[in-house]
């Protein structure tokens, strides 16, 4: 057991407070008991004195008491050997006498110059015995409360130990261990619940990274396969110059594709909420959109695809310009890629409660069961076109980072509609 453990700390504090409380209690108890006993003795001696004042002849009845009765300052009756007159100057006084207590009470009636002094030796045991018993009882109480506290702490710490144990078992490769929820509806249950939630979120995150890695490596493998294949094919035999030229230009093309993928990956690395939101400023969305459309006008012309702007409003909003640019570019790029020649693309940008960016194409469409995959798995519908499948995944990523929403509706062979909602 460690000395800085929670258990020791809790026991130390609990024990300390308990000890102080017991000491205060004992002190008060002792004082109250003491004054109470004094009061009782005083009352008893006073009663005797009053009785003697009314009837001095009763003096014989109080066999255990020593008594002196004065009238007109003269001693008229005395019982006992002790000189009571000089014993005490106070009305009431107790003296300790070994294990016992002696008490004296003087009743003065100055008008009649009468005085009655009652004295009792060994009137009562000293209360030290009671104090001793109290100390023993309190010690027992102290130890049993401390033991009880230890048991309670154990019960609480058991749950914490379970959490510690589970935490030790968790690694990047193993998220399987979950902590069983305690029965009691207390803070520990809440902690356990949240801890389990955290494990789930981490697991989700790691899975996403793994999936991402596998997708990236898949993306890289395709151009590498072509590179390796073309080069090894060229080297198998003696070829003519044109063959080599052809192979080299193909190799260059594939290297460019690899470069593209790596550039996009670097872009994805830059993406973090803090990075993006740090660069928030007022941006004209319509200006960016028109710029993007112009950038792609040649590509559209090549395929004889017409881009229609259905709706365009001048919208200024606080966001990250670069990210918006990438979102618009990637979505238009995708729409152009998957739309056959001579078809149309429709774009809208407007604002109601939110800002809407909608891009509709007359492309090959996506079947329902693939709609989820399309953003998740960097899936490409028809990979015959040049380019690579990270585009939509990047868009999805940015949309999440900007706290925006993306909706995709699609009918196979009719077209796809992608809508981005910005707040």
């Amino acid at each position: 057991m460690k000395f800085n453990s929670l258990r020791i700390k809790l026991l130390f504090w609990f024990g300390g407070i308990l000890f102080i409380l017991l000491v205060i209690f004992s002190f008060l108890f002792y004082n109250i008991l003491n004054s109470n006993i004094n009061y009782k003795i005083k009352e008893k001696l006073f009663n005797i004195a009053i009785n003697l004042k009314l009837n001095p002849n009763l003096i014989k009845n109080y066999s255990n008491y020593e008594i002196e009765i004065y009238k007109n300052n003269k001693l008229i009756l005395k019982k006992g050997k002790t000189d009571l007159k000089n014993l005490s100057s106070k009305i009431f006084q107790t003296f300790e006498d070994g294990e016992y207590i002696n008490a004296i009470y003087t009743l003065n009636i100055p008008q009649k110059q009468e005085k009655i002094i009652v004295y009792k030796k060994h009137i009562i045991d000293k209360i030290e015995d009671i104090v001793e018993i109290m100390i023993i009882l309190e010690s027992i109480l102290f130890i049993s409360l401390l033991t009880l506290a230890n048991l309670l702490i154990n019960k609480i710490l058991f749950q914490i130990k379970a959490i510690t144990k589970s935490a030790k078992n968790i690694s990047v490769n193993n998220f399987s261990s979950k902590i069983p929820l305690p029965k009691n509806n207390d803070e520990l249950k809440e902690l356990t619940f949240e801890f389990n939630n955290m494990i789930e979120r981490l697991q989700d995150g790691i899975e996403r990274i793994e999936e991402f890695n596998s997708n990236v490596s898949h993306e890289l493998r395709t151009p590498l396969t072509v590179l390796k294949g073309e080069i090894s094919l060229a080297l198998r035999k003696d070829r003519n110059i044109n063959y080599y030229k052809n192979t080299l230009s193909k190799a260059l093309e594939e290297i460019k594709k690899i470069e593209n993928i790596i550039n996009s990956l670097l872009l994805l690395v830059e993406f973090s909420k803090i990075n993006i939101q740090k660069n928030f400023k007022k941006v004209n969305l319509d200006e960016i959109l028109l710029q993007v459309i112009e950038n792609y006008s040649n590509f559209a012309k090549e395929k004889n695809i017409k881009i229609y702007i259905k709706k365009l409003e001048s919208i200024e909003c606080l966001t990250n310009e670069k990210m918006i640019f990438i979102v618009f570019s990637n979505l238009l790029d995708n729409a152009l890629k998957y739309t056959p020649n001579n078809k149309n693309i429709y774009i809208s940008l407007y604002k109601d409660n939110q800002i809407h960016f909608i891009i509709e194409d007359e492309g090959i469409g996506i079947e329902k069961d693939k709609l989820n995959k399309i953003t998740k798995r960097f899936y490409r519908i028809e990979k015959s076109q040049k380019g690579f499948g990270l585009g939509l995944s990047i868009v999805k990523n940015i949309v999440n980072l900007l706290d925006a929403k993306m909706k995709i509706e699609s009918v196979p062979n009719k077209g796809t509609k992608v809508e981005i909602e910005l707040l």
Partner: protein
């Protein structure tokens, strides 16, 4: 030898086709799963090469539907290389597995090995009575003497060996050797078969009138 490559990436398809044709393979291609599956089921191939990730249909799905009807050797070509991926593909009925990027030479050797296994428990030399066929050198010997077979005759012989003890129709032979070539009729097939039987000995392949031919071992 007839090959079908089902691969959606045109650049990969391009060098595969070029390289394999250089090695005297008859290469047929499909750029998506649906066409690939259709071709695999309709036509006769010696080896099918398939990519896992296809645009329309999962390669595994295509393999499963091919396996319901045919046991043509299938080689999976894929970027997915984990153990679980391999297990999944072998379970679906794949015969071999090659991870992208790969050496062209290795692909070639694997295709040849698959083909040999489908002909003849995997050995290079097939012996039928006094006939000896060396698949590696494409040499055919009868009683130790080399017989010269032309390309079509050689392919026809291997096709008959692969489908030994089965009656093979004119249509099947036409489809395997000439595909859709229009001018080929039963006459051309009969002549080719006649020449082959003359060279290797008539006792190997029997002619079943109006139905087809059979090589019995």
């Amino acid at each position: 030898m007839n090959l079908l490559i089902i691969e959606d990436d045109r650049d990969i398809l391009s060098f595969l086709k070029r390289g394999l044709e250089e090695e005297d393979f008859n290469v047929d291609t499909a750029e998506n799963g649906e066409i690939g599956e259709y071709k695999a089921l309709e036509n006769i191939y010696d080896v099918i090469i398939i990519d896992w990730m296809l645009p329309d249909k999962d390669g595994i799905g295509v393999i499963k539907s091919i396996r319901k009807e045919k046991n043509t050797p299938i080689l999976m070509l894929t970027a997915k290389g984990t153990l679980n991926d391999k297990i999944e593909s072998f379970k679906s009925g794949v015969d071999d597995y090659l991870i992208k990027p790969f050496e062209f030479e290795e692909l070639l050797l694997r295709i040849e090995a698959l083909y040999r296994r489908s002909l003849n428990s995997g050995e290079n030399i097939i012996k039928i009575k006094d006939l000896e066929i060396d698949i590696e050198s494409k040499e055919v010997k009868k009683e130790g003497k080399i017989i010269k077979l032309n390309n079509k005759e050689y392919e026809l012989l291997l096709f008959m060996i692969k489908n030994k003890n089965q009656i093979i129709s004119n249509d099947m032979i036409k489809e395997y050797l000439w595909k859709e070539t229009e001018y080929i009729n039963s006459n051309v097939i009969a002549v080719t078969m006649y020449n082959l039987r003359k060279k290797i000995g008539k006792e190997f392949i029997s002619n079943i009138r109006k139905i087809g031919y059979k090589l019995e071992i």
